[in-house]
Structures are given as C-alpha cells and as structure tokens.
Symmetry: none
Subunit: 204 residues, 4 copies
DNA sequence: AATGAATGAGGGTTCATTCAT
DNA sequence: TATGAATGAACCCTCATTCAT
C-alpha cells in the first residue's frame, strides 16, 4: 500500500534517474523530454506533473548532486585525522562519489555552469557553502607557512573540486590515468607536494 | 582594392569572431545563426556561403583556438630557461592567451568536449599532440625523483591545462582569485611546490 | 466514444484528403505543409505525427490511388462478358474512378513519375502488376489475328492507361471532349476499331 | 568577329540547352539556377541578363519546343501522300523529333502542363494552333464514315500527341516497347486500325 | 494521476534574385 | 557584359508544453 507521497517520491526518482542517464549521454539540449519519459517508463505528459519546465530537470539534478556530495563530505570533515590525511580523505571521498554517480557528476560538471536560471543560483550557493568551503577548510589546515596566502584557500578549493569533476567528463584524463585509483594518487600528491618535492629515501 | 581571397578571409574572420562572441555567451545550442549573422553584420544567408552547417562553427573555433595556442606554446618550449622557469613560462603564456582570447577559450572549454563530429576528432588529436604533449614535456623535466611516475606526466598535463581553462569559464575562480596574476601564481606554486611545502625564510 | 485507432484513422484520412486537394491544385513542390495542415483543419505539427516527411504524402497518395484502382479493376476482370465488352468495361470503370477521384488521379498522374524514393518503387510495382496487367489481359483477348504481336499488349495497356489519366490532367482533352461520356466513347472506339474502320450501315 | 546580337544569341542557346538538360533530369523545382549556370558554363548572375525569372526558362523551353515541332510538322502536312500515309508520317516525324530532342520533349511533357504563367498561355495557343490542328487535320482525313464524329478530331489529336510525348517520359513505355520503331508501329496501327480489326491474309 | 495527441514557435538551411564591381 | 557575393523570404521539421480524456 503506497501513500500518495510515496508514489510522488517514486515518480520523482524515476524521472530524476532517467534525466541523469539521458543527459549524461547527450547533454541537456540534445536530450528530449520524450526520450527521458521513455527511459523513465512514463508518459511524456506525466513528466510535466512533476516539473514545470525541462530546465527544472537540471535544477533537480544539481540539487540532488549537491546534497549527495555535501552529506558525505561533512562526514569526512568530522574525522579526527591529521590535516594531510583529512585532505586525502576528502579527495578520496569526492572521487569515489563521482565515480559511483558518474552520470550525475558528468551532468553536473557539464551543464550547471551554463545555466542561468534563478533556481540554480540558490544551488550554487549551497554548493559553495557546503562543498567548496569544506574543501577550503581542509586546504587551510595544510598550507600555513607555505607558498600560499590565506585567501588562496578558496581558489585552491575551486581548483581541486574542478579537478575531481574532471574525472567525470574528461576522456583524456580517463585514458591517461587508466583507473581512478591512479588519478586519486596523482591528485593527492600534486596538491600535497607539488611536482618538484623530492621523495625522501627512507634511511633514518 | 580587395581581391576575392581577401574578402573571403575577411568574411571568415567576421563570422568567426561573431560566433565566438555569441557562443561564449550562450553556448552552441542557444546561439542562433540569425544572431551570429547580426553580430557579424551580415545577412543570415551569407553565413552559409562560408560554412556548411552550424556545427562547422564549433569546428572552426576549435581549430583556430588550438592553432593559436600551439604556436605560442612552441615558442616557450624553445626557450633556454631552467625547467622550473619553463613550466612557469608555459603556464604564464597559456593563461595570458586564455585571458586575451577569453571568449574563444570559453567556447573551446565548454563546447568541444561534447561534440562528436568527425572533424572534431582531428582537432582533438592536434590539441593532444601540440598542447598536451608540450605541457607533458615541461612537466617531465621537473618531476624526476619526486612523487610521480613518468607516465603521470600526461595526466598532470591534462590537469594543468584544465586548470588554465578554468579561468575562462569558472565564475568561482574569477571571483575568488580576483585577477589573473594571482591565479597564475597560485597555479604555479601549486604545481611546483604543492600545498604543504614550507617556504624557507631567508635567514641562513 | 472513439478509440485511439479510430482517431488515428480519421486523422490520416483528413491529412490524405487535404494533401490530395492541395497537391492536385499546386503540385508537390508548391504545396506547403502549412497549407495542407490548414486544409486538413489541423496544426502544422500535427501532420508530422502521421507522416515522417513531406514526401511521404506522395507515397501515401500513390498507394491509396493504386489500391483504389486495383480493387475496382479486378471486379471488372471477373465479369463474364465478351472480350470486347470487358475492354469497354475496364475503360469505363477506370474513367469513372478517375472522374470520381479527380484530384487524386491528377496528383498520381503528375507527381508519381518524377518521384524516385524507394517507397515509390514498391508502389510502381503494385501499379504495374495490378493495373497494367489487368489492362494487358483484356487487351490480349481482343487483339489476336490483328495488327499486333502478343508482346504489344503491355505497351498498349501503358497507352490506354495513360489515355485514361489524360482526363485527369489535360485541360485540352476536357475542353475538346466536353464530358467524360464522350471521352469514354472516343477511347473505346479508338481502341476497338481505330480511325479508319468504316461503320456498317445496318441495311442487311 | 561577333556582333552583339550573335553573342546574345549564343548565350541564349547556351542557357537554353543547359536548362533543358538539367530540368529533364531533375524537373523544374529541383533544378537550381546555380546548376544550370554551371552546366551552361556561365556565372549565376549572367543567367539573369537573359531571363527575368527562373520560370522564364520553362517558357523558353516551351516556346523553342513548339516552334521546333511546328516547323517539321508543317512540312509533312504539305506532302502529297494518301491520308493514311500522311497520318503515319506525322506520327513518324513527331516521334523522331521527340527522340532526337528527348530532354526537351521530356521537360515539355512534364513541366508545361502545370505552369500557369501568362506567357505559357500564349505558347499553349501556338501549340494548339500549329500542332494539335495539324494532327487534327490529318485525323479528319482518315476518319469519315467510321466511328467518330467530326468534332472528335481534336480530342483524338490531343490523345495522339500525348501518346507521342509518352515516349519522352514514361519509363514503362520505353521498357515495354523496347525501341522507338516498335512504339511507332504500335501507335500507328492502333490509330489506324484499332485492336480488333483482322489483318487480311493477302490471298485474293 | 497518467497519458499522448495537438500545437505552433522557432531554428537551420536553401535558393531565387539583386547589385556592386 | 559577366560575375558571384550578399540577402532574406520561405520552407521543412523538431520539440517543449498544454490539455482533454
């Protein structure tokens, strides 16, 4: 026995997943409502019971994506590790999530930047506050005394997050890195040590 | 007195620049031929004397962009600096070009990845060979003995190039970094030293 | 209460009839989908729920026309009359159908020959097998011992059918013959007796 | 040394022949001025020095065709043969001309009927007076005492002329008759004797 | 709530025609 | 006179959105 709300939630999920799947493949403009409806196993008209405009699907995807990432990221932030480990953890989690929700991440990475609707503004704020700031905090913990000013932390977190998303939509990166584990190591080492730091050969 | 070829070249440039401008603002799909024509100061039909399909405009932009970058990048590579300076130079040049041709770079960054026409394949190869490889070579020169394997150079160049392009289309980065000079320093320091290297305070 | 199929059938008919009407007047190229839609009392987009391309309308018209003619022609062929009466009957039926479906016949006569799509090939085969052959059979029955070889029957049926269709699109013929009854007599007499046979004045 | 008029005449011929060639292949609407110009070895703009509108090409073709046919047909009419031979001659000439100027004839047959411009009216009159009437006269000479009324001659000449043109554009007729000689015989016999007249086996 | 038939705005593209050279 | 670059009207077709069932 399903309550009305349960059905609504189920439909939303159907539509969301179909939209993610189709849009990750074709991008926003080349995806049609008809195809998304078919993928969702619903009628074309039914979609419009749950969204007002096609654009809303991107909002939906963005929102879902940001929430998903936010939750996990917070967990990591709460861990008791050393700063460097915390940074590695957050990269690790981010990449794992992106891998796990590859299609969602791809659509987020590719479509969101170009959207200018009002709703997206709200989500970008959420993204900024929950994700970028979490990264920035982790970054701030490891950079004092080094080459960066305090204000650089935000830029660096923009960069790091973007590099994580790169895994979702860059064919080059996937081809060159081979697997996500390699990519994670490269990213961690780059951010922690840079290219020129020499590894200490463990003799003492 | 203009020869036919001169006019043709001039028109191509007009159209190219109009396309870059409009597409950087609206993206491929939301740009209409009509608007591009208006921006170029030409009639709608005239556009089709110089391209066969709207899609060709992206190919054109991609090609022009890759050539533009390739040329300058090569110059840097030929310089006689030390490896670390060479890497800084190439980042410097890349960012300056991206700044100078901001709209072109934005369209390149945003649209090319999603295009799947045959012509784009050719251009991606060009991009890979001329730009990614140039970066990879510079990267290889500074990383021995450190945390990276030789094969990582390509991935790292993917990453570095992506970071440069981030300046072209990420509102966050622009807002957080303020100006391109800051961004350049952040990128250079990140790549050369990473977040955790401590600056030696010169009291030796 | 209309089932989905009934509506579909109704729409198809609407569109078909509108297309016949408009195309008979203007020909394929000078007919626009917009006008056909208006004539059908439907929206422009609706047409494309029932056809894929404008060209399909010609296929549809051709097919319908051939089927229509085939059915009636077969009935005549099955009659028990003498050969000469059978030939007259088939001319009679053909002309009556062409008169009755004047617009359809005109479009058939004018447009089909020039179309080269694959679907038309199939329909031409149908036309050839069902209509030309029926005429040829009737012709074969009356011509032995005369001026024609057996193999001429097909050519003669091409000619006779073309003559019938002439009624559909030749202004000259309509003007000169006046009414279809006259035209039918002329055709029958021409085919049966030729120009030079003298009528026997019934005095014996 | 060419006078201005000679060049003009030469250009007209070039354009005329190119138009005939292209239109016979593709029909009026699918022929472009560009292609006709190329076929004529002239620039696109040059065409418009000799015609006002694309439609004029059809007028030109029609006019030329009618004149061509008229001239030869008149010669035959002036011959001193017996009526039946005269009819055969006129069929013979007509078919030979159609064969010789196959492309011209095809375009005449296919395109003229649908054109409604004022100029075409004039040409149709010419056609009617010069060609249809010539045929009608020949027909009138052979039909007295037979199955036809005097007024039928015009209809019969419409029919006969149409049957001659059939050779120019019916694939069926060409395929079934094989060569034009056969077709000519079939047409002649049909018109002179009909299907049912028995050949007298010449034994007294 | 679910559906898909109906719709028309809007976009890409073609091409007859013009006109400056 | 010859040309072809320039132009925009006009057309086909797609697809987001609506709405009656």
């Amino acid at each position: 026995m399903s309550t009305k709300n349960e059905i609504t939630a189920k439909r939303r999920k159907q539509i969301f997943e179909a939209a993610v799947k189709v849009m990750a493949d074709k991008g926003f403009h080349d995806s049609t409502i008809k195809e998304i409806a078919r993928e969702a196993g619903l009628g074309k008209g039914t979609i419009y019971q749950y969204i007002r405009k096609k654009e809303d699907l991107v909002t939906l995807i963005a929102e879902e994506g940001v929430l998903l990432l936010s939750q996990k990221i917070e967990e990591v932030s709460a861990s008791a590790d050393f700063p460097e480990q915390k940074l590695q953890s957050i990269i690790d989690v981010m990449l794992r999530l992106i891998q796990e929700h590859a299609l969602l991440a791809k659509t987020m990475a590719v479509e969101i930047e170009r959207f200018k609707s009002e709703d997206i503004g709200r989500i970008k704020d959420l993204f900024s506050q929950n994700i970028l700031n979490a990264f920035a905090s982790r970054i701030e913990e490891v950079m004092p005394g080094g080459y960066f000013a305090e204000g650089d932390a935000l830029v660096l977190s923009d960069i790091l997050v973007a590099m994580c998303f790169l895994w979702a939509h860059s064919d080059y990166v996937k081809k060159h890195a081979g697997d996500i584990e390699s990519y994670k190591n490269i990213l961690s080492n780059l951010f922690l040590y840079g290219l020129t730091r020499k590894k200490e050969t463990g003799n003492g």
